[in-house]
Structure formats: structure tokens, C-alpha cells
Amino acid sequence: MKSINQIQEEIVDDFSLFDDWMQKYEYIIDLGKKLPLIEEDFKTDEYLIKGCQSKVWLKAYPEGDRVYFKADSDAVITKGIIALLISVLSGQKSEDIANADLYFIEKIGLMEHLSPTRSNGLNSMIRQMRYYGVGIQTKEKEV
């Protein structure tokens, strides 16, 4: 399993190949289309992270000290960015998820999508993913 930062570096490398915004967004849209959907059963309010503009559903599957994520969105660009976040964070150790410095987002020029005014649910999703990380950490300590 690659570390969070190794995966981030790979993404940054991939994106450095794109010459313009169109290639970059076509790639993101492609990722969005490929993202394994959450089973329809999970597209409920329980897993919904409400953005003002696009909806995001997130489900976490803890396995040992690691957490796996599945997610979906009704907007495909949001979904593509989710795919990137999942590739970085899914399957990592809960502690690493909680403390991850997600610098790749800025490096590949997608910071604007995390602006709170975009209201696409991505900010809340990252917070929720970290929360799962912390939550599981805490749980383990309790046991």
C-alpha cells in the first residue's frame, strides 16, 4: 500500500502532463464517470453530505486499523474530485487519514473547488473523512 503522500505525488505528476484546463477537466470528468457508485441503498440522507449545489454521499468501511471509502455525487466534476480524494485516503490508516495534509489539491489547481462558497459538499466530505479517521482512532483507544 502506497502512502498518502506517495499517491499525492503521483496525482501531481499526472496532472503536470495537462496543457490546459480542458484536458484537466476531461480527466476529472472521466474519473467521475468511473468512480464506483455507492449502492443505491446508501444514497440516503444518512450518508448524504449536503452541499448547496451538489450532493455527496459518503460511506466508510473500517477494516482493522484502516478505513475504506465509497462515495458518489450527483455532479460529475464533484464526483471526479471525490475519486481523487478516495484514491488518496481510502485504505489508509485511520490516524494518517485524520492527519493528512492534502496538498495535492492546491498543486493541481483545484483549490477553488474546496472554497466554502462553492457549496459542493467537498469541504464537508473531507471533514467527514477525517472524522471517520479520528472516530476510529478514538474507538480503538477505548477498547
Binding site: M22, Y25, C52, Q53, D74, A75, V76, I77, T78
Partner: protein
């Protein structure tokens, strides 16, 4: 009594064709492309004269108003009160006393709901709104309705986005506390039959508030001819600055209403035993007002006065028709809101595409549109859609803007499908 005044609006001789040059921001770039600004319903751009007036005020005219004996303060007060007179002229209000400066349409509605509603509304009464309202003309009424124990009824809309006002015949009664509807829908652009609504309410002596936030940029409003009791609007949607707006109300009603916010300016004498209040309009203008804002709004009105509003109306109608014609050539285009009477606002969806995704691609192409529910969630829910893509145009837009939009939507469709 109707007071006839010379409208400052219809005299203008400037052609709208060159208006675009007055707006410096329209020659800037967004994401490396010349800006196409199609979000004027959210906030319009400002002409250079407005920008300069605000700048000049702070550089050479700034002082608090209604207070200082010195010349500078007197100058600022004169400019501020000239703004009030211009607003009066712009909407043909009978008196300057009826022009209350507020932060915007939202604050004006809250003022009426709290002051008028707080004083006159009774338990069990009904407030009539419409399905087309902006949250700003819903939530203030919900707050007072909850406090007083009142019901809210909602005038339905048809699939075209037209209000079904016949229902008012059934609903209006002595038990109706107020009718509050918008003049033009921000989400769909529908121009609502406010005259008919007011006439129906008149039969029962029910007061009517018109939310004119979307109307003022498109044409002159004569509040006396309209016959409403309250008319509210925001400066920033009519080429003026943000943070300033107007509540117009009939003097008779405003006189009876208690102050809403307390503070400086709105008092006559203050003692711990008894405070007496200032007269209209100051009774409702607590604290130092937005002086620069009023001066900017005043300049915006003067700017609009350079044009002929009939020409603007024809020009905008031409743009709207062109935009609809071009957009509907895109396969899968679904126009949302096809009312017979519409302002230059086009709300639409493209089959299979999420509005947010389209908005992102358009942004990259330098095209500013609004996507989402436009602060009209009840309307979107009724229409069964999460939101729309909205292109809203002002007289500074042109056909090239529409062409760029259509090109952008086509590209978004290609990339996203």
C-alpha cells in the same frame, strides 16, 4: 392624492448600444478569457460614474450626515438627501418621507414584517405569498407568523412559471394580514401581474408589499400608479453599490408603524424615562446610514436617467428572444420558466447534465452564470428539479455574450456527456 412629477427617467437620449463601455469590469478577463457577465440578477455591475462618485465622496466629501454644523458635513448631508429625492423621483413617490434607506430589499422586508406585522398582525390571520418568492420574501414572514400564530398561504404557479392568481378570489378576506409577492421572479424572470394582485387585495383593504429587487434594473416603477402599500428594492441590483436599498411605504402606514431598530438618528429626545422618536423617514433609519451607498445609488439613478427606458426594454426583449432562440438549438435544452411576460432572465437545464458541472465549465470559459436553486428552494421543489443554470442579462449585455454562452454550453455538453 396622486402627485404628478416629471419622471427623470424617460428623457434620456443616450443609446444603449454603447452602454457597455461605461462598465469597466466588462472589459476585464476571467480565467484568461474576456468576461461574459450573465449574473446581473444576483448583482449588477457598476458604471464608472457610480464608482467615481463613491471614490470622490470618500476622498473629498466624507463626514457624518444630519449632525455637523461645519460645511463638510452639510455637503455630505446635501448629497445624501439628494439621493433620497432621486429615489423619490425614480419611483414617483409622493413624498421623500416615504423613502427609507435600508441595507437592501431583505432588510426592508424584515422591517415591514417586524414593525408593521408586529404591530398590526393578529393571531389566526393569514399571510399570502407566492410559490415564486425568494427566501428573503418567505423567511421574514415565517418569523412573524410563528410569533403571532398565523398561517401562510402560497399562490401556486403553473409549469410555465406563471402565478395562478385567480385563487386570490377565494383566499382574500378580512382575515388576510398582508400579500407579499415579487414583481419579477429572480429564478425564472416571470414578470408577475402585480397590478391585478394589488387590485384584488384592495377589495378587502389588504395591504400589499411588492419585492421589486429584480424589477428596478429593467424599467421604471411608479409606486403611485401601481398602488401598492410597500415597495422594496436593493441598490446593487440596479447598478448601484451593495449595502444600500430602499423601503418605500405609504406615509399613512409608515406613520402608524413603531420604530424597528433603535439608536442614533431615529430619536427626537432621549431620557431614561421616555424617548420620543424622530419623524419619517428618520424614525426607521437608526444609526449612521450608508452614506457612500446612498450617494452611489443616487449616481446610479442619474446614470439610468441618461437612457430611454423604452429603448432599454426593447433592447432587453431582443436579447432575451435571441438567447432563447440560440439556446433552444442545443439538443436536450430544457427551458425552465416560459412565462408569457418575462424579464431578460433565462433559466435552463440540459438533459443529463448537472447545473453545477455546467457552471464550472462555463466559468473556465470566462462566462459567469448562476447555478443552483437561486434561493428559491420551494419553487425548485415544486418544479421537481435541484436547480437551474441561469443567465440573467442587463442592458450592458449583447448578442456576443449570448453567442459565447451558447458556445460554452455546447462545449460543456460535449465534455460532460
Amino acid at each position: 392624492m396622486k402627485v404628478k412629477q416629471e419622471s427623470i427617467l424617460m428623457k434620456g437620449t443616450r443609446s444603449v448600444e454603447r452602454a457597455r463601455e461605461d462598465f469597466p469590469i466588462l472589459s476585464t478577463e476571467m480565467n484568461g478569457r474576456p468576461l461574459v457577465f450573465l449574473d446581473s440578477a444576483a448583482s449588477s455591475q457598476k458604471p464608472i460614474s457610480v464608482i467615481q462618485a463613491i471614490n470622490y465622496y470618500y476622498r473629498e466629501q466624507n463626514a457624518n450626515v444630519h449632525r455637523g454644523v461645519y460645511a463638510l458635513s452639510q455637503k455630505a448631508t446635501d448629497l445624501f438627501e439628494m439621493g433620497r429625492r432621486r429615489v423619490r423621483d425614480f419611483i414617483n413617490a409622493p413624498s421623500e418621507k416615504e423613502i427609507i434607506f435600508v441595507r437592501g430589499a431583505t432588510e426592508a422586508i424584515n422591517l415591514v414584517a417586524q414593525s408593521y406585522g408586529g404591530h398590526f398582525f393578529r393571531e389566526g390571520q393569514e399571510i399570502i405569498l407566492s410559490q415564486l418568492e425568494h427566501h428573503s420574501n418567505i423567511v421574514p414572514w415565517q418569523l412573524i407568523a410563528e410569533k403571532k400564530g398565523m398561517q401562510i398561504r402560497v399562490i401556486p404557479v403553473n409549469k410555465k412559471g406563471e402565478l395562478q392568481i385567480e385563487i386570490l378570489e377565494e383566499w382574500l378576506s378580512e382575515n388576510t394580514a398582508i400579500v407579499a409577492v415579487n414583481h419579477i421572479s429572480n429564478a425564472l424572470g416571470t414578470i408577475n401581474p402585480v397590478r391585478e394582485i394589488i387590485a384584488k387585495a384592495r377589495n378587502f383593504d389588504v395591504p400589499v408589499l411588492i419585492d421589486g429587487a429584480q424589477a428596478m434594473a429593467h424599467g421604471p416603477v411608479d409606486v403611485q400608479e401601481l398602488g401598492a402599500d410597500f415597495y422594496v428594492f436593493s441598490g446593487h441590483k440596479m447598478f448601484g453599490p451593495t449595502g444600500v436599498g430602499v423601503l418605500w411605504g405609504r406615509e399613512e402606514l409608515l406613520e402608524k408603524m413603531p420604530p424597528w431598530q433603535g439608536g442614533g438618528e431615529m430619536i427626537h429626545t432621549v431620557s431614561f424615562e421616555k424617548t420620543t422618536y424622530n419623524e419619517l423617514p428618520f424614525k426607521f433609519e437608526a444609526g449612521t446610514p450608508n452614506i457612500a451607498g446612498v450617494i452611489g445609488l443616487s449616481e446610479a439613478i442619474a446614470y439610468l436617467g441618461e437612457f430611454n427606458f423604452e429603448e432599454i426594454a426593447v433592447y432587453e426583449k431582443g436579447l432575451l428572444d435571441y438567447c432563447v432562440k440560440k439556446l433552444t438549438q442545443i439538443p436536450g435544452m430544457q427551458l425552465v420558466g416560459t412565462a408569457k411576460s418575462k424579464a431578460s432572465v433565462v433559466s435552463f437545464l440540459v438533459d443529463g447534465l448537472h447545473p453545477y458541472d455546467v457552471g464550472i465549465i462555463l466559468d473556465k470559459m470566462g462566462i459567469a452564470v448562476r447555478t443552483g436553486h437561486h434561493c428559491t428552494q420551494p419553487l425548485m421543489e415544486y418544479l421537481g428539479i435541484p436547480g437551474t443554470i441561469r443567465a440573467s442579462m442587463a442592458f450592458y449585455n449583447n448578442r456576443e455574450d449570448v453567442d459565447r454562452l451558447v458556445e460554452g454550453v455546447a462545449k460543456a455538453q460535449m465534455m460532460l456527456s
